[in-house]
Every structure is written in structure tokens, then in C-alpha cells.
Amino acid sequence: MAPHDPDAHYVSDSPYDPEAERQLIERKDLDYATWVLVWRRFLKNRLAVLSGIFLLAIYIQLPFIDFLSPYSHTVRDDDHLNAPPQPVGIFDGGFIVTYPMTETLDMQTLQRVYTADYDNPQPLRWFASCGAPYSFLGIWESDNHLVCPPEGGTFYPFGTDRLGRDMLSRLMHSARLSLTIGLIGVAISFAIGMVVGGIAGYFGGWVDAIVQRAIEVIRSLPELPIWLALSAAIPAHWGPEAVFFVISIILGLLDWPGLARAVRSKFLALREEEYVRAAELMGASTARIIAAHMMPNFMSHLVASATLSIPAMILGETALSFLGLGLRPPAVSWGLMLNDALTLGQGAITITPWVLWPLAPVILVVLAYNFLGDGIRDALDPYS
């Protein structure tokens, strides 16, 4: 190629048609409703999608826990106290088999020692009837289970606790309370946060100042002692359901300041957007502006913040129950199961480590919520 001469007048022969240009669509890739773009961007985040599927799967299970779990969470087996996880085999005279365990007492340490009899595989029963009848979704009574322990045998793949209750079934039943308490708590804090934050953001001025100071005061209170004080005030004779609701309200009451702040700041930011001003200047009412222009734009942000605050609730419930101030037996939650471990003291870790199983679902669920929340938050602005 000849060297470029700066004095030459070069004219390219590329075409130029201003009329066609005016109709040309510049960013076809952005020509979709916001939620479609958000959804597409969210799908690109593998970890968040996986977490979402995981959470969805376990929430869908909740109503069918009675059917899915091999035992009820209250049934006790005096022959298997503090039994370790029972060995399980595959295709050993059946699809899935368990090997019966026999208990002996070690006379030197006074520990129960369980030995499995590998010569005597017992196949699990599928879709069979066993145990006490339960009420399925409150519609009909049933004693059908997805999987039942072998005839005359046991099925304790995660071991049993000190009362001889199946850890696996208890973990599954615990999910009901532990997982829903987060949702109810967030719903409560969402409602308070929206109203308070919305008022602060909409009215501004001294209303805003008062709300802000109140939030600062609430946020400066140490959380755990307040929880303790509030839950200690629940009368001892209340039933487990009442305690459950009060606990979730307590958790919600202490969590709203963060959401209120998010609502307020988003409100203030959106009020300055020119499309909101344009709506004002076309004569739209305040209600319409908030409902049609502001809500859709800040709801998605709130969903992300709410998703990120559910794990704090789950952890809060776990902590309270662990300390014996949350839910009360016969209710069962992961925190309560850990509270059982507490009564065993050090032995929980050295002798019966399987009672610490509830930590696993807590960690998994909290991580999944965090990944999901981060994924939603990152997908929210598809135009950047």
C-alpha cells in the first residue's frame, strides 16, 4: 500500500443515505421488555441459576415432606439412641438396602457401640405404608411414604439423635419452619420498609429526617440481645405455631431499616429521572407516577435486597433456637436440632458428630440465597 499522503484529498466511496439512517434500529439486542433483558442476563450467571433451581426444588418439597421423609419427626426408637449413620448398600439383594445395626455397650467407656451386619441386607420398601398416619396437606389422612424402612429393619442414613429419632426425617421436617420463617420475616420487613421508606422518600424534609434518625437508632442497637429480650417475653404456654409467628415478626421488625433505606434512596433517585418529571408535567397524578413509573423500576431492586436479607433471617432463627429462645419443641427446626447438640456439649463433636448435620442445610440455603440475590442484583440493569 502506498504511504498515506496528508496533502491528498481522499474521498471514500462508501454510501451515505440519511433517510434510511433515520429509521435504522441501532440496538436490536436491547429491543425487549426490561424483564426479558433482566431474565436473559440472569440466566448467564450459572451459579445464581443453579442456586435458584436448588432453592425452588427444596421449597416445592415443603408441602410433601410427610410423604418424602421415611419417618415422622417425633417417632422415637429406643433401640437406636445416638446411633451413627447406618450403612446403605446398592444392588445387594435389592435396589437400595440397609444393613441392620446391633447395639452393644462398651463396658470400659460406657459408650453405645453399633456394629452393622453386612451379611443381612434388608431392601427398602418404596411407596409403602409405614409409621403413624399423617394428614396430607390437611386434605386426607395417609400413611404412605416415598420410602419406608425395611420390614422389621431401620433406615437411619444420617444417624439418630439422643432420643433415637431419625436425623434425616428431622432435617427434612425442620426445613418447613426454618425456610418459611425467612419468607414471613422478609414479608413483614418488606411491608414496613416499603411504607416507611416510601413515606420518607416521598415527603422528604423533616419526615425524612425523623425516619432516618430512627433508622440510625434502630441499627445501632445490638441485634442479639434485642432478639433475646423480645423472644423471652413470649409466654411459655403459647403453642408452637404462635411462637413461630411471633419469632418471625420479631425477625421482621428488626430487619426493616435496611429495606426502608433502599426504598428511600431509590425513590429519591427515581424522582429525579426525567421520565418521571415528564409524567408529572403531562399532568399524571402522584398515584399514577408512583404506580406506573416508579414502582416497576424500584421493585426489582427491592426483590434483590429482600432476597439478600432472607439468609439473615434464617440465620437469626437458627441462632435464637440454638440458644433455646426461639421455637420450642415439639416444633422442629435446624436451630432446635442444633440446640439438641448443645445439650450434648463437647460430645456432640467427638462422639456423635452426626448431630451437627443441620449445619449443612443452613450453610447451603444461606449460600444459595446469597448467590441468587447477587445474581438478581447484577442482572437488574441490563442496559449498562
Binding site: 500500500m1 418529571r277 408529572e280
Partner: protein, 594 residues
């Protein structure tokens, strides 16, 4: 070919992204720059002009890659180096040392935590190994050179203490302090007010001829090109569509796109038409219009002094006419628009009157809610930023039918029909109704904004800098559209702008604002042909035109661009004691001491 080229770029191509999704944003650009000359790269947003400049310095964003080409820099001794083949440490020595860059946004290009002196001295220390007293001496000399009134103060000032113009001077000082062979300036004056821009351009030109350095000026403004460049490279969609000496390109453009650009550049027409004298049939008027914002409350009960954004403004907009309010940022021009629309309440004592087609006079300042809603139907607004003025969640159809829904007009089918009509009216295909705003370019979005403003069939539209976020050629199209609509629908406009030349063809009357006051107001013809106020004269003189024979008149800019204290008698004033407006010929008012 007396002079050897300093920089030769051959076949430069830059890609964004990798693999199948890769987008070529610069396609085989050639350019040659001789020592001591300046080259302008002209193009609109997305043309690849900034990427080209950054590629030469190899400071492209992470996603971008140079896929082909060479950039040969010739040293003083005739030694040639290919910038794209250099190792990163050697490239660092060239960046800032032999090639320096001036960025568009001086505030974000300077570190807020270090003094200006500190930052300029750093470049010197890194590239010329000069620090301590000698470094300081050289910095202070450079500060004086780039026109800091007090170099000592500039040395110890933080960027936020300086005005926009001074900050850009600090950037220039930082680029100049090492005496580079080449300065790449990326839209160095776009963020500045017109009068400041003129002064900065003049400074850059003087520095260039004084030091014999070369310059690449990246700009979208052909007026800047005419004033600054020896040769021009016109870029469009990553390709060079035309290149050559400035005079040839501006007087005899070869490519259709270049011709369109030159035609689109706003200029003051040789002979102005338009009405003279007073407004005969006013549609909207205001008297004693003031707006005071309370000072910001900081800490416990401490309050800063209140800010007077608008003071004693009196304007009249005639039916079917356009009143342009022109002023630099912070002059209060947008506040006037918001007050007239009652988007904000004016200070007590203001009178805002509106008389619509029905002939009934209404007092806008004291209107009730219900009447205000009816008023909103008749006076609409188009905003500056086409990106934030359309809700990203609504389709174009929703956006255009919303005003009708708010006022409960028509059935669903009728509203849809109306939206299609509106799209055609603003020159877009009704087939785009189902699309979402983000799919459109800035100009198309501004057309949608105009369509939305027209939806209610208003009598008047307030245009708040509707074209300042757009490319020049798009700006011209939008102005043409507004002009056509005015004629077709009998609209009246209040047109807010920071650029006098933009309004020259559209406005019937012009009010020039400075510091919340009107300094001169007249029919457009009188204002452009017989400007009296030094500030107006400065604004007219400061706007660069794409005409190599009409360069900026800096003496005129200097007289009027400063603070009111520096204006000559009888215009100057101190504090808030502005002289009143005097009528010097029919309809022509100037703020001066009698």
C-alpha cells in the same frame, strides 16, 4: 514533503470482544501527521474516533484489541518505532513523555485527592527525572504558560477548587509539562461553556505554534476543526470517509456524509428574517419571576446562604413564535423553564400568565390542581437527555399513549391510532411502536420525546436543550423537525439552549441570561445584527463556525466572558445590583446603567 511525518498510522483496525461476537469498531484507518501540524479526527458518537486516538496510545478498554496495523512514531534523530510492537514498559515511557493525552472530562481525569501541582509534577518526575525545586519551577512556568492567573495558587489547589475551564487548563499543563512531540486531545472543550471553549482552543493553538508540537484533535465540531486543524480525517462507523487539508474539505467536501456534516453545523445566517418590535399576541408571559433556593443545611442547623437561581426575569412568548433563552450552565435558564411550567413554585410576587386559543387569560402562578392539569395539556416539555426521559420499561406505544390515558382521552383503539400518527409526524415508522426505547439512537429517542409532547395537541412546547446531547447532524434534523411542526401545528416554543448559533435559525426572539438575570433581550434579527451587551457579543464571537476564513474573535470573547465585575461600563456591576433593562430600540432591551 519538506517535513518528515512524526506519526504514521497504517491500516489500524480495532475489535471489541472476541470470537463470533467481535465487533470491528475501527476498520483500516490510515493517517499521517507531520511535525508541528495538527490533525482533526471528526466524527459522531460511535464513529470510532476516540478509539483511534486511544489505540495510538494503547490505552484501549479491556474488551478492545488492536487487530491490525502499525503506528510508526519518528524520533528526533529519525529513529522509527512501531508503537504497537513496543513492550509495555517502553510504551509507558512514551505515554505522557513523547505523546500526551488530554481528556474530555477534566474533573474525572484529575485525582481529587492530590493537588494540581502534585499531579503535574508527577509527570515531570516520571518522564524527565526532574523533581524538587527544579520540577516546581518548570511546573510553575507551565502553569503561567497555560494561562493560570496565579501559578502559585494553582500549584497548591485541588481540582475541585478550580472552575471547569481552569481544570482543563490544568490537564493541558499536565500534558504539556514534559514537552511532548504529540498531544492527542479527545474532545477537550466539549464539556466547557462556549466562551471558555473559545479561550481554551485559543490557548491550545498558541501552545502548539509556540512549542512546535503536533496535535491530534478528536472532535465532533467542525467549527473547532476550522479553527484548529491543518488537516482533517472524517470518520464514520469506523471508516475514514474523507481526509485531506482542512481548507479543501471544508470548502469542497467530496463525500455525502461530510457535506451533510457541514450543512448541519449550526451557523448564524447572513441575513436574518423574523419579526421586529414588541410581541403582539402573547401566549405565555412572566413578570418579576424569581427563584431562591434555600441554602443547604449542613450538620446541626447550619445553613449556607440561599442561592438566587433566577432574579426578576421578565419574558413574553408570542403565539406561534419561538423565544430562545440562551445562557451558560448555571445561568438559570432551565429554572425559568421549570417555573413557567409550574414544575416548581416561583418566589412570591411573580406573575405568570397564559392565554390559550380560547382567549381566556389564566394566572399560572396561583392555579389550582385541577386547572393546572388542564394547563399541562396545553403546554408540554421536551427534555435534554433523550436517554433518561423515556422510561426503559415502557414500549414506545405505552409511552405515546400515556398522556392520553392520563387525561382520559379516546378509546384504546383511538389512542393506538393517535400514537401511530404521532410517530409519522416525527418522521419515524409506526412499525416501531412495539419497540422499547433502548433500541433507538439518541436522535430517534428525541423524536419519540417530541411525539410524546405532541400527543395532547398542545399549544406550546418548552424545549429544554433538546439537542445538546445529540450529534451535530442529528441536531440539525431535530431542529428542522421542530421548525416544521411549529408551522404545521401553530405551536409556540420556549427554546432553552447554551448555544446562540443553534437557536439562530429557529428563534424569533432571544433572551440572553447570565447569573439568573436577563442581560439582553431582542428580536433575533436585532440581537444577532446589533448585539449590544458585551456578554452577548462574547457568546456570538465564541461559537466556532466551520469556516476557515472566520476564526474566533478572542478579544470580543475576553471582554464579555468574565464576571459582571469585569464588564466595561455601563454594563458591569457588583454583587446583586444589576442595572435594569433599557429599551434601546423597539423590542431590544439591554441591561445597562442608563
Amino acid at each position: 514533503m519538506r517535513v518528515t511525518p512524526l506519526l504514521r498510522v497504517e491500516g489500524l483496525s480495532v475489535c471489541f470482544g472476541a470470537g463470533a461476537g467481535a465487533m470491528e469498531v475501527v476498520k483500516g484507518v490510515d493517517l499521517t501527521l507531520r511535525r508541528g501540524e495538527s490533525l482533526a479526527i471528526v466524527g459522531e458518537s460511535g464513529s470510532g474516533k476516540t478509539v483511534t486516538g486511544k489505540a495510538i496510545l494503547r490505552i484501549l478498554p479491556r474488551a478492545a484489541r488492536i487487530t491490525a496495523g502499525r503506528a510508526v512514531l519518528t524520533g528526533a534523530g529519525g529513529k522509527e518505532v512501531d508503537l504497537f510492537g513496543l513492550s509495555e514498559p517502553r510504551m509507558r515511557a512514551i505515554r505522557g513523555g513523547r505523546i500526551a493525552m488530554i481528556f474530555q472530562e477534566p474533573m474525572s481525569s484529575l485525582s481529587p485527592l492530590h493537588t494540581v501541582g502534585n499531579q503535574v509534577a508527577e509527570a515531570l518526575r516520571l518522564h524527565r527525572k526532574k523533581s524538587g525545586a527544579e520540577g516546581r519551577r518548570i511546573c510553575l512556568e507551565t502553569f503561567a504558560e497555560v494561562g493560570f492567573p496565579d501559578p502559585e495558587r494553582a500549584w497548591s489547589a485541588y481540582p475541585f477548587e478550580l472552575s471547569g475551564g481552569l481544570r482543563q487548563r490544568a490537564m493541558i499543563a499536565m500534558a504539556m509539562v514534559c514537552r511532548p512531540d504529540l498531544v492527542i486531545a479527545d474532545e477537550p472543550t466539549t464539556a466547557l461553556d462556549v466562551t471558555t471553549q473559545a479561550q481554551v482552543l485559543d490557548l491550545m493553538r498558541r501552545l502548539q505554534t509556540g512549542t512546535g508540537m503536533s496535535m491530534i484533535m478528536i472532535t465532533h465540531d467542525l467549527g473547532v476543526v476550522a479553527n484548529m486543524a491543518d488537516s482533517v480525517l472524517v470518520m464514520r462507523r469506523g471508516e475514514v470517509v474523507e481526509s485531506g487539508p482542512t481548507r479543501v474539505i471544508l470548502t469542497d467536501p467530496g463525500h455525502g456524509y461530510t457535506r451533510a456534516l457541514i450543512a448541519a453545523a449550526p451557523k448564524i445566517p447572513e441575513c436574518m428574517s423574523g419579526g421586529l418590535g414588541e410581541v403582539r399576541d402573547p401566549i405565555l408571559w412572566a413578570r418579576n419571576l424569581s427563584k431562591t433556593y434555600p441554602g443547604r443545611i449542613s450538620g446541626l442547623g447550619k445553613q449556607a446562604a440561599p442561592v438566587q437561581a433566577v432574579q426578576d426575569v421578565e419574558i413574553v412568548i408570542g403565539r406561534g413564535e419561538t423565544l430562545a433563552v440562551v445562557g451558560e450552565s448555571g445561568s438559570g435558564k432551565s429554572t425559568v423553564a421549570r417555573l413557567l411550567l409550574r414544575a416548581e413554585d416561583p418566589d412570591p410576587g411573580a406573575e405568570i400568565g397564559f392565554r390559550g386559543r380560547d382567549g381566556e387569560t389564566q394566572d399560572v402562578a396561583t392555579m389550582t390542581r385541577a386547572r393546572l392539569k388542564a394547563f399541562r395539556r396545553r403546554v408540554q416539555i421536551v427534555f435534554q437527555d433523550p436517554y433518561s426521559s423515556l422510561s426503559p420499561r415502557m414500549s414506545v406505544l405505552d409511552i405515546l399513549t400515556e398522556p392520553l390515558e392520563v387525561h382520559g382521552l379516546g378509546t384504546r383503539a383511538e389512542r393506538r391510532q393517535r400514537a401511530a400518527e404521532l410517530m409519522e409526524k416525527v418522521g419515524l415508522s409506526p412499525a416501531h411502536l412495539g419497540r422499547f426505547p433502548h433500541a433507538f439512537s439518541g436522535g430517534q429517542r428525541q423524536r419519540i420525546c417530541i411525539a410524546r409532547a405532541l400527543a395532547l395537541d398542545p399549544e406550546m412546547i418548552v424545549c429544554d436543550e433538546p439537542t445538546s446531547a445529540l450529534d451535530v447532524s442529528v441536531q440539525a434534523q431535530v431542529l428542522d423537525l421542530l421548525k416544521g411542526l411549529r408551522k404545521e401545528m401553530g405551536l409556540s416554543y420556549l427554546f432553552i439552549s447554551h448555544d446562540l448559533t443553534v437557536v439562530a435559525e429557529l428563534a424569533d426572539r432571544v433572551a440572553v441570561m447570565r447569573r439568573g438575570r436577563i442581560v439582553e433581550q431582542a428580536p433575533a434579527k436585532l440581537l444577532f445584527e446589533n448585539p449590544r451587551h458585551p456578554y452577548t457579543i462574547a457568546l456570538i464571537a465564541a461559537s466556532p463556525e466551520p469556516d476557515v476564513n472566520r476564526r474566533l474573535d478572542l478579544a470580543a470573547v475576553a471582554r464579555g466572558a468574565g464576571d459582571p465585575e469585569c464588564w466595561p461600563e455601563p454594563f458591569g456591576y457588583r454583587g446583586h445590583q444589576a442595572p435594569p433593562l433599557h429599551e434601546i430600540e423597539p423590542g431590544h432591551y439591554v441591561s445597562c446603567a442608563a
